[in-house]
């Protein structure tokens, strides 16, 4: 009960602003950047936008797809793949990016605190 209730949700954009199989970035008030992805099957995921391998805030601009059925995004810089649901890097088991909960309400995408 407690965790859900304390989570703050921020409305980010209309659902149509996130194309299928693509991503966008959102800027939170605290300066954090969230990459929001929408899979072909309309699942939404949030990851930190920061690419841990280059230090550039660009993960939202990666290519979305799957590796053995697991939904992933490939960094646009050096192409490492990150699992959308967990943030785990498939190409380096020591690396993971932060995940953010995403929910759709009233046709609007919301990002929650991690």
């Amino acid at each position: 009960m407690t965790a859900m209730a304390q989570r703050t949700w921020v409305a980010v954009c209309p659902v149509e602003s996130v194309p299928r199989g693509d991503g966008v970035a959102a800027l939170l008030d605290n300066g954090e950047q969230v990459a929001i992805f929408r899979t072909e099957s309309d699942e939404f995921h949030g990851l930190s936008n920061m690419d841990p391998f280059s230090g550039a805030a660009v993960l939202s601009r990666g290519i979305v797809g799957d590796a053995d059925g697991v939904a992933v995004v490939a960094s646009p810089v050096y192409k490492q793949r990150f699992e959308l649901s967990t943030g785990a890097c498939l190409d380096d088991e020591n690396v993971r990016v932060r995940t953010y909960p995403v929910r759709i309400a009233g046709g609007v995408v919301h990002v929650g605190s991690p």
Partner: protein, 838 residues
């Protein structure tokens, strides 16, 4: 105590001998002293002609040939052996060195034979055997370039070496004339029918052939040379190269009274021993059982035999296969076994396809059951399968084997016996390779090479290694990625045939899953080539790599660079000023690129459309620096200004750049045009490069800088602009359709079955009948081209994507910042954050 082995000569064969002894002589029973006349360690003489692509002697080096770190071997270069005292068992050298031996191996090779015609020793006359010979020829060619007109050369001798020399000269930009005494080229290897076709093919490549005539004299004539032929022809040339055969270097043997063969060569028995049991001879200087071999493979076998004997083992020379296959200027020539049907009762079966330029002859036993030999000219694709069958029963009727449709199909690799030699350079049998695959677990061509040595010399057997892997059930997957089992080329054909225009439909019908960073951009590129409108239209945007998605190149700090097109590198002062103003206004770092244009770095996503607006208004367009597409057509200044230029290279470069701009391809495409043979635009380093000639243009294809540099090969010469463009249209479209993902034209041509010869057949001679279609596809591309930047500026929906944050349009990424270096902005890099250990 170890004994001393002296080796006279350090060529390929001597090196093999030293390697063979050192790999088995762990106890060090032999101390080896090698004297070499040349100043460098043994190198790949067989590959000598490739030296002209880049003049890099290092590329011919043989691994380990300097024996550094091996104390048992002393290599003394530039110090030839000048005398042998067999009584005292001692050699003396030109440098005054004297060395006692327990065994002596002569490996002095052979010297080029120069017919004693008057004038044969004039300056400008050369032979073709060593790196130094080629350097001397190169220097003479450079001098000849100073004059007007295209320099020319006469090559005396139309055998294997003569044709190689002609190729090297042609690659250096000369017009070569080949003079051959026999009525046909390569008289030793091919028969009359094959010779006739060879002549036709070689002539088409710009080599003039004079057969059935002697060279009577060389005369000096106003700074040039005149070669007077027996048939009355006089050739005005800048240089003459003699390649009229070789003679074994048996002088040392003669001097010290060893027996020599009647026609030259140190006489040795089948154990490589001379008439003196302490002296051996191997390689081209040896007449083994009276016969001299001018090929490296028998030399290697002799080296192994001598090494075994020296180590106290028994070994005898089993005889040698003098089969040859070569690719000369893209023309395949092969002869094997009893090519001239000398066997009693032998029958010849000939298939002569004049239209497609292919001549094939099989020599079979009188009952047609056994293969004895053969000649292949134009298309030697079956050589690797036929040669090992010599002496074995034919798997099918000879006519079926030769028919084009039957071809390699009729003689499968399965038909070869286990003992058939697949790699003749290194004497590796099918059995040995199969064992490496099945028992040693080699699962790729490089693994088989490392394990068996097959394919590591001339490389002609490499395709067979691939086929043996497949025959053993080792899949060499061509699948694009885990989502598509087909190759890129197959996928291209599927999209073309089905006219599917979306990724989702394509993957649903021909793939699985939801795609990835490999297949999505590959499909996006295929769709773009086939004309699918703007690359950011609808669903296509999500397929694009970030560079194509933002029509700019991503940099390490998340900003982008902007490269406007500057066709041919030609730019007006006004346009230059606009670029400067844009850079100043948006705070961009400016740099002249290696592609003769200007790159502006450090633009944020929101700045991009505003920068393009300025540039487009000033008459610029996208330079596709971000795309797997045509990049630049570089140009030298050409005949308009340059005192040596023979054509307007800038004009042609601009025409080509505007024609092919925007063409999406498997990898980026680069081109250049040079106004004369000095080649200031470096056209031979490009995917397609054009060099002006007095009569038109020479087109070179398959060049590459980058990681694996390769010089482009001449495809057609002296063509007019219209023909040139037609052939480039075909070349590009054929490449775009058939190459693998991220495969530049250089590896594509190298991996093309039949290589450059096949490419020429398809796009010059139209052997597949597809040229009209390729041209039509290019015409469509030219017709439909539109500037991609403008396409974004005119479409509000696309424009809306150019923002860093979906919830804060116009706000730039706050993590981006710059500092100043050499008066320009450069990125401040962030520490790598957010890595959460598991």
């Amino acid at each position: 105590m170890s004994r001393t082995l002296v080796v006279a000569g350090h060529g390929m064969v001597a090196h093999r001998l030293v390697e063979a002894i050192r790999s088995e002589d762990a106890e060090g029973t032999w101390r080896i002293v090698v004297f070499g006349e040349e100043r460098r360690p043994a190198y790949d003489r067989v590959g000598l002609t490739s030296y002209v692509d880049g003049w890099d002697a290092g590329a011919l080096a043989l691994p380990g040939a300097d024996y550094s770190g091996d104390e048992a071997v002393e290599l003394r270069l530039g110090d030839p052996v000048t005398g042998v005292d067999r009584e005292a068992r001692r050699v003396v050298t030109a440098g005054g060195h004297s060395e006692r031996y327990d065994a002596l191996v002569l490996a002095t090779g052979s010297r080029p034979f120069v017919p004693p015609v008057p004038g044969h020793d004039l300056p400008g006359c050369f032979v073709y055997r060593t790196i130094e010979d080629l350097d001397a020829i190169h220097a003479a060619v450079e001098r000849a370039r100073g004059g007007r007109g295209r320099p020319a050369a006469a090559v005396v001798g139309g055998g294997l070496l003569g044709l190689e020399a002609a190729k090297a000269l042609r690659d250096m930009g000369l017009s070569p004339h080949v003079v051959e005494m026999a009525p046909r080229l390569m008289p030793l290897q091919v028969d009359e029918g094959g010779g006739a076709l060879l002549r036709r093919l070689v002539t088409a490549l710009g080599v003039t052939v004079h057969t059935g005539t002697s060279t009577d004299a060389i005369e000096a004539d106003r700074g040039k040379l005149c070669a007077k032929l027996g048939n009355g022809t006089e050739l005005d040339v800048d240089l003459v190269v003699f390649s009229a055969g070789v003679r074994p270097r048996d002088d040392l043997a003669r001097q010290c009274g060893l027996e020599v063969a009647e026609r030259g060569g140190v006489l040795v028995d089948s154990s490589c021993r001379t008439s003196d049991p302490h002296v051996y001879a191997i390689g081209e200087c040896a007449a083994i059982e009276g016969r001299v071999y001018g090929l490296v493979a028998p030399g290697y076998t002799m080296a192994e035999v001598a090494a075994a004997r020296l180590l106290g083992r028994d070994a005898t020379f089993p005889g040698a296969d003098t089969s040859t296959k070569l690719k000369l200027m893209g023309v395949d020539v092969a002869s094997f076994g009893d090519a001239h049907a000398a066997t009693e009762g032998a029958l010849e079966v000939v298939f002569n396809d004049a239209v497609n330029g292919s001549y094939k002859k099989l020599v079979v036993s009188d009952d047609s059951a056994t293969l004895l030999g053969g000649v292949l000219v134009g298309d030697a694709g079956d050589y690797n399968l036929l040669r090992p069958l010599v002496g074995n029963p034919l798997p099918a009727d000879p006519a079926t084997i030769l028919a084009p449709a039957g071809g390699g199909g009729a003689v499968g690799i399965e038909a070869l016996p286990e003992e058939a030699q697949i790699c003749s350079c290194n004497a590796v049998t099918k059995g040995a390779i199969t064992w490496a695959i099945t028992d040693e677990g080699c699962d790729s061509v490089p693994a088989v090479k490392a394990c068996t040595r097959a394919g590591t010399s001339c490389g002609s057997c490499v395709p067979m290694l691939g086929r043996l892997l497949s025959a053993c059930g080792v899949e060499q997957s061509k699948a694009l990625c885990e989502h598509f089992t087909v190759s890129r080329a197959e996928l291209f054909e599927i999209v073309r045939a089905t006219r599917i225009s979306t990724f989702s439909e394509l993957i649903a019908r021909h793939g699985k899953g939801s795609g990835c960073a490999i297949c999505k951009p590959a499909v996006a590129s295929i769709l773009a080539t086939l004309g699918n409108g703007h690359i950011l239209n609808g669903e296509q945007a999500a397929l694009q790599d970030t560079n194509d998605h933002y029509l700019a190149n991503l940099q390490r700090n998340g900003t982008y660079s902007v490269v406007p097109r500057i066709p041919g590198g030609e730019i007006t002062p006004d346009k230059l000023i606009v670029i400067g103003e844009v850079a100043r206004e948006f705070g961009l770092y400016a740099k002249i690129t290696g592609g003769q244009r200007i790159d502006l770095f450090g633009a944020t996503v929101e700045q991009l459309p505003r920068i393009w607006r300025r540039l487009v208004d000033a008459g610029f367009e996208s330079g596709h620096a971000y795309g797997k597409a045509l990049r630049t057509v570089k140009s030298c200044v050409g005949s308009t200004w340059c005192r040596y230029g023979v054509q307007d290279s800038v004009g042609l470069a601009i025409e080509l750049e505007l024609r092919y701009r925007g063409l999406r391809s498997p990898h980026k495409l680069k081109s250049a045009v040079s106004g004369c043979a000095r080649e200031c635009a470096e056209a031979r380093g490009k995917d397609f490069g054009v060099i002006a000639t007095d009569n038109g243009w020479n087109l070179y294809v398959g060049g590459n800088g980058g990681t694996m540099p390769r010089h482009a090969d001449l495809l057609v010469s002296d063509v007019d602009t219209e023909t040139l463009i037609r052939i480039i249209d075909r070349f590009l479209m054929f490449y775009v359709r058939t190459a693998d993902r991220l495969q530049r034209t250089a590896p594509w041509i190298e991996e093309l079955d039949g290589g450059l010869g096949h490419l020429r057949e398809v796009i010059v001679e139209d052997s597949l009948g597809i040229c009209a279609e390729l041209e039509a596809a290019m015409a469509r591309h030219v017709e439909e081209y539109a500037d991609e930047w403008k396409g974004v500026l005119e479409d509000p929906e696309k424009l809306a994507r150019f923002t860093s944050f979906v919830n804060a349009p116009g706000v730039p990424d706050p993590t981006i910042s710059f500092r100043t270096e050499r008066e320009q902005p450069v990125p401040v890099l962030l520490p790598v954050p957010e890595v959460v250990g598991r």
